[in-house]
Structure formats: C-alpha cells, structure tokens
C-alpha cells in the first residue's frame, strides 16, 4: 500500500514540476517566472522528502531545509530588486 501511494505521489509531484517548467518558459512577465521558480523550489523539497522515504534514510532532510531557506532568500532578494532597484539600501 505504501509503495503504491509513494508512486502516485511521485507521479503527481513530477507532473507539478513539469507544469512549473511550462509556466517558467512561457511566463509573460518577470513576476510570473519568479512565482514559477518559487513553486519549483517547494516542489523539489517535496521530491527530496519522497526520495528520503523511498531510500528509507533521514539524511536528506538537511538538504530539504537548506533548499527551503535558499528559495525563500532568493525570492525575497529578487522581489526587493524589482521593487526598489536595489537589494540592500
């Protein structure tokens, strides 16, 4: 039962990543692409957690936490740059 659920969840997350790549490619404006990139960060965290479940190891959670922090910081930095023309004023 757990194997089947893991396969279904992996398939859904991979389809979500494909949709994010589509929006990242065609996105008409810069904030659209930024939103797609931020969602890709979150979906890749989900993918890493599922990989940890698949391999039955807990070593991937530090990587997931690192990706979460880097995604948040980079999104905020690009937003500040677009809003103010500068990151640290």
């Amino acid at each position: 039962m757990l194997d089947t659920a893991l396969w279904i969840s992996l398939a859904l997350i991979v389809m979500a990543l494909a949709l994010n790549v589509y929006r990242l490619t065609i996105g008409p404006s810069l904030p659209d692409r930024l939103l797609a990139l931020d969602t890709m960060y979150v979906n890749s965290i989900a993918l890493i957690v599922l990989l940890g479940l698949w391999l039955n190891t807990k070593h991937y959670f530090e990587a997931a936490l690192l990706i979460a922090m880097l995604g948040f910081i980079s999104t905020v930095a690009v937003c500040k740059y677009l809003l103010r023309g500068d990151i640290i004023e």
Partner: protein
C-alpha cells in the same frame, strides 16, 4: 498487527493528499488568466501539499524508528511562515510593475494609493496650486 495496517493507511492517505494538493496548486499556476489569480495556487495549495507530505514522512519515521523527530516539523514550520511573506512581496512586485489584469481582479485595496494599483498618478492635493 492491525495497528500497523491502520498507520500505513494514514501515511498513504497523507502522501496522496500532499501530491494531489501540490499538483492542483501547480495546475492553477499554469492555467489561470492573470498574475494576481496565478498567485493563489502556489501560495495556498502547494504549501498545504508539502505540509501533508512532511507529516507523512514524520509519521513513517516515527513508526519505523520508534521515536519522533523534530526536523520535518521544522521544515513545515519554516515553509508555513515564509509562504505568506513571499506571496506578499510578489503581489507588491506585480502591483509595482503594473501587470495586466483581467476585469474581475480589478478591486482596490483600501490602503494603497491610486498610482500604486496601476492607475495614472494623481497630484497630491497640497502641491501644484498657487
């Protein structure tokens, strides 16, 4: 024995629910019509989806190793704190760049000035006379 079967069912339910929520969020981001609508999908649905997947992972390692772990809860907490901040900054960026919006999303937040929601700048009433 039945104890483990029930727990396995709960973990499987959380995994599938998380995947479905994340997929629906990305689907909304792809198919909605303007930026302010597209902002809704990832900020709410994808966040609850990854929360479900992390809860499933936490339950699985709790069951297999016998003791709870705080790391998954930490990731969940961090994502639930940062998602509204990111959404707020992205919405402000969209308003600042005056992105196109369809007719249905043309409401005005009361705390913003008229030029901040994409209309023509209005002169301040204290300036420009005399």
């Amino acid at each position: 024995m039945t104890h483990y079967v029930i727990l396995e069912g709960v973990i499987a339910f959380f995994l599938i629910a998380g995947g479905a929520f994340a997929f629906i969020g990305s689907l909304g981001m792809t198919h909605l019509r303007d930026f302010y609508m597209r902002l809704h999908g990832p900020t709410k649905s994808t966040t609850i989806g990854i929360g479900c997947i992390l809860i499933a992972s936490m339950l699985y390692f709790w069951v297999t190793e016998g003791k709870p772990d705080i790391q998954e809860l930490l990731i969940t907490l961090f994502l639930f704190i940062t998602a509204p901040v990111t959404a707020h900054l992205l919405a402000k960026t969209g308003l600042h760049l005056r992105l196109e919006h369809v007719e249905k999303t043309r409401g005005h937040p009361v705390e913003l000035r008229r030029e901040e929601v994409g209309e023509k700048p209005v002169p301040h009433p204290d300036k420009g006379h005399g």
